[in-house]
Symmetry: C5
Subunit: 337 residues, 5 copies
């Protein structure tokens, strides 16, 4: 029942299974591809963080499911592209959301991360190898900050916070691009700037899809309905909730700015078009009458008195000059230049 | 009181009436066009799934109505084009929704499916022959999955889930078409791409009409207000609810992408137009002055000194060449090429 | 205090006052223009349906007001153009809504209908002669359906249901017109199709104004807050509520389709314009250089070597032919044909 | 702390201070510019209506404030441009809203009116001399209607009702203008019609700003939360609330109609433009080839056989005629005329 | 964990730390860069207002944090760009919002101001030197108004009120600019006016981002949920809340007006374009036929009877004059002038 309404992300070939156990005194890291071995290493009196990178090894997932009594629907949700949400089960809290990467030169990359928070453990499921948590793992090892003094729910908070912090980085990049476009769009509206605006709009559309449900999910946690988030840590989740609200505000602002850029682009296009049309009209309006006049005196009638006048030719030039000057004054007054 | 605000679907000539009864041990399938016979075969201690394909045999419907004490308004709702909804009656729960088919080469086909869930039976009413449940019927027969161990409400969940899963397939197709259009719309915006975008928009408009009320209906069930959905199965309905929410998110995303495609199309049209106008203006601006000049020396004045100059003709060519070059530089600088 | 923000409907010259009394056994119809006489004929132990067509006889209204103790504000609401609403008074329930007529060849016609539901009577106030209830009156007389077995609240339901059913007919017509326009708008976008689209939009705007408040009013009744709607009949009002919701959904769908038609129309207009501009540009681009060339050899310079060449004339034709062919290939490649 | 985000209204030079006291038996009117004298005339056992036109005499306001114990924030609200609102204080109810005038030939004029409703008095503060209450004052004096039999809260209702009734008049005018524009916009879309539409839009924008908060304020009163509105009079406030809702509906309808007018205007402009371009293209397409042909035979080549043909000239006319006719047929077929 | 999704504001080099203590009798102001010294000067029985301008001295902030037991998340919120919000902690109330400056000749400048309200103290954190409170500090010193008689929560109200009042000034400026643009946009729509409109739109987008969350934050305070706002002062916060609602209304109005200005600009551009096209078409339509005619009689056929007619030349002039006049009448009738 795997559902992926968007593109299928290329899963990585192997999988990484990792266990970090810690409390105030102890810290242990264990990496293995054998779930049975890992399960034996779980420490009931410590915080157990089990991280799985890569979801295509059904054997590992089944063994984790069996040991932690994961509900089949929960496993479906982990494996399939899911709407960000938080769900309370009898024995654990399930949270799933999208992790964004800011990849240089290309657009945003998404990865679904799912969390299962039990009383003394946290499972994290990631679709791909590599994540944003490397620096934080080091902080745990070195016992920096409060994490070693706290329970698994604080660990969940920190991981979500890291992911949400990264949204700011993504938004910053979007803000920079908007500034860039704004500088060029007034002067020189090319199709390239238009494509950039469209790409931005698309990124914002996908961001919105990731962020709005995330806010709803966090609001559920913040209301204190979950048994697995300690009340002392509610304020932390509330803080992440505020950050997500702030990001959504910025995103809406960027959306408005982007649509404003579109207006500017369209106006610039129209202005250019108007300019082109004015050139055409000015040229036509000046040269059509003149060409008509010289055409008149190119006629071959036997009897055309002007042709015989000595200064006829110069007179015609004079008339044409007068017409030219009149036209120029007319256009000047109409502010066509 | 049959109301159909949209097109009338061609009903099939015959009707199919089918009964599947099962519990953990037993399984029976019975097909007949005689409702009386079918009613005698109902098993009070098993799950009874009565399926009716084709709604134009009033005799069958009346007999089912009589036996299951169906409310006249419920029967009206089954027969007429209805808004997806869930309604609790005294003796049963009524759910109606739209089943979507993905038909190759053509657009989406709709069919209204209605469910009546009693304590030990489920009635399903379909407008047309053929449905999405064939594979699932086989799973019941072979006792795969949990369905034989569960009650009629789980059966209802599975059928709704199958229908909702199929929405994903429809959305995937829409996603693919959007990708296709996006590739061509930048390069070569034809009326054909425009028509495709409009067709997409139309599909999304109809999808929205089917999905928003469905979410409302499911939310009613999820709140646990119904007596006919066991609490142990609420999580399943909640899961379907999440799927529908996810589909609605994707649909909204697609709607935004479609309107973005429209913007791209319009911009491409305008760009093309601008290009055409530029060609016209360049040609006019170059040749009008030149034609004027040659017109001047086509005049028949008796006294035109330049005509007698030996190199007058070549001088004129020189002047015209200079004008041509100047113009080209001017347009080059204005980036009209 | 009569307020009519829209056009004033031409009231009919006379008024019709009619009383139908019925229960399971008895049925009586009485028509008169004398309210006093009518009041004497009211049957306390039967359902009394008093219908008034035409609201410009203040004498009748005052007498009805006196007998049924109608609140002055209620009478104001009956007489003036009102927002559809349902209001509970101490001794009766007041409901007002818009009845729509589908008039061939012209647009929709509106009429305000007000209901006062007491314990054993229903008053209906209509602005104009003629209504949608004729067939239903006959059904009462012949004792068809359940109406003779039920109380006045069921009568109210039936009348509202008839009015709401008629909305479907109006929507069907709109749906048909949308289909018609869709067929022609791609091929041949004239101003006429544009006017039709605008007329549709206008109808939908007015429909929305009638329907949204109606839904709110019905939702009040459905919540069971009224003392004058028996609980056994709540489901009927709930059904009408669903129908109105369904109609609103369809209306929103039609609104989206109409704005989609507008996009198609505009695109068709632009496509036509582009085509016109291309013709102009192609003609200009071909003939301007050619005209220039023939102009060159129309000059009267004494010394123009080409003029004396024997095949100069044909050479010029050859050059012009080459230019023409080159241009045609260029435009072909640019897909301007 | 006077805040005026919009234009400052020119206050009148003098101020008018007026007291009307009444009950079933007595009626007294007293006009003065001395607040102390007025305060002595207040009748504890009657309804006291104190009306102040013009807010720039701080002495009067301070004395009223002192006598009626008005909160400083309330006085700020009376003096400054305020959002329509209803606020409950310990000893009185404060209501402020906008009174609209329909001024012939010009746009709408606004005036802020504030009410302070105590147990036996009503204070009204108006920015300018002259109001809509003149006729109503006369009705009080002559003891018409119920006002003399009721308390100060009924007086408040009547004054608000008069103001709201006047909104209908303003809306009627807008409706008439919309009808006018609609008649001309199809035929003859000038800039003038466009400006009229824009002026309408602006009026509607300001109306909305006055009306939406008014509805919120009235809804507060209707909920019966105020101690100063007697329950028996709630229905009257509810009626005003309905009127405001109705006006808002009409306003939204007018907004949609106005934006529909804009579409029609833009379409008419585009149609006109297309027509102009067609004329240009037809003329160019016909005369450019013809001019080219006559240019050919204006060349001065020594050897041009056609020139010597006896009927060459007429032949050329024939060819040109044929081209002309072909072109005309082509354009006819393309429906450019 | 400092997050700034928008531009980084240049922090001032030094910081200003200031303490004002007051009650009914006493007033003291103390300025220092040493937080320890300042802390010794706090008066437990007075209101203590600690103001910090400049947030880049982590030493000061840490010492304040230590003394007032500020939560680490609160300090993060003070230091980073934050969404306006109000949060209740155990020992204090935290409020953060944006202070706007109206800078002559340039656009709006933002500064984040955070408040921590304890039982007898108020901390204010500002990003930059200089604020809007100077006049108010003087009022405290001179014991004007009620502030010396009230507690720290009233001080908070006054500071927020001053900030909100300043929004009115900013909005006034926007209103003035809108009026300016409106005057010129009908007559002379240049790109400059377009840029001004876009700049306005941008300012409104940012304003909205600052104001909507502020309203939410204030609504929290107004509901009386906070322990640190005395009930007697709730009305003051309610007043600020009303002001913010009023500002948001005005902002929405300005947004609508701005988009109306855009429509006017676009229409003016199109009108201008139409005018240009008409000039072109008129000129072409008049001179193309005339040029054709004179071309005809410039042909060199041996046998062209008209050439030999004595008045042929004048006849041609006559014909051309007739064509010219006909055209002019045609265009006049089509109202192209």
């Amino acid at each position: 029942m795997i559902k992926r309404s968007e593109e299928i992300k290329p899963a990585m070939p192997g999988v990484i299974l990792e266990l970090i156990t810690y409390n105030r005194e102890k810290y242990n890291k264990f990496e293995s591809s054998d779930p049975d071995e890992l399960i034996t290493r779980l420490q009931p009196d410590q915080v157990n963080w089990v991280n799985l990178d890569g979801l295509n090894n059904s054997d590992i997932i089944e063994k984790l499911q069996a040991h932690f009594c994961l509900h089949p629907l929960l496993v479906d949700d982990v494996l399939a592209d899911q709407r960000p949400k938080a769900e309370e089960y009898d024995d654990y809290l399930f949270v799933t959301l999208k992790m964004l990467y800011r990849i240089e030169g290309t657009s945003i990359d998404y990865e679904q991360v799912s969390f299962v928070l039990g009383s003394n453990y946290l499972l994290t499921f990631q679709e791909k190898e590599g994540d944003l948590f490397e620096g934080f793992r080091e902080r745990i090892r070195q016992d920096l900050g409060k994490v070693r003094k706290k329970h698994a729910d604080y660990l969940l908070y920190r991981l979500i916070d890291i992911i949400v912090d990264n949204y700011y980085a993504v938004l910053d990049r979007i803000g920079d691009i908007i500034d860039d476009i704004e500088e060029t769009v007034y002067e020189n509206p090319t199709n390239e700037t238009f494509y950039k605006i469209q790409a931005l709009k698309k990124e914002l559309i996908y961001l919105r899809k990731a962020l709005y449900p995330l806010r709803d999910a966090l609001s559920k946690l913040v209301k204190g309905e979950s048994d697995f988030v300690r009340e002392e840590n509610l304020r932390y989740f509330s803080d992440v909730y505020d950050h997500v609200s702030h990001i959504i505000d910025s995103m809406d602002t960027f959306k408005d700015l982007t649509s404003s850029l579109m207006d500017i682009h369209i106006n610039a296009m129209n202005t250019k078009m108007n300019e082109v049309m004015k050139v055409l009209t000015v040229i036509s309006t000046i040269f059509m009458p003149l060409t008509f006049i010289v055409g008149v005196y190119g006629m071959n009638f036997k009897f055309m008195p002007e042709l015989d006048w000595q200064y006829g030719y110069f007179l015609v030039w004079g008339i044409m000059g007068a017409i030219f000057v009149t036209m120029m004054i007319y256009f000047k007054k109409k502010k066509w230049f």
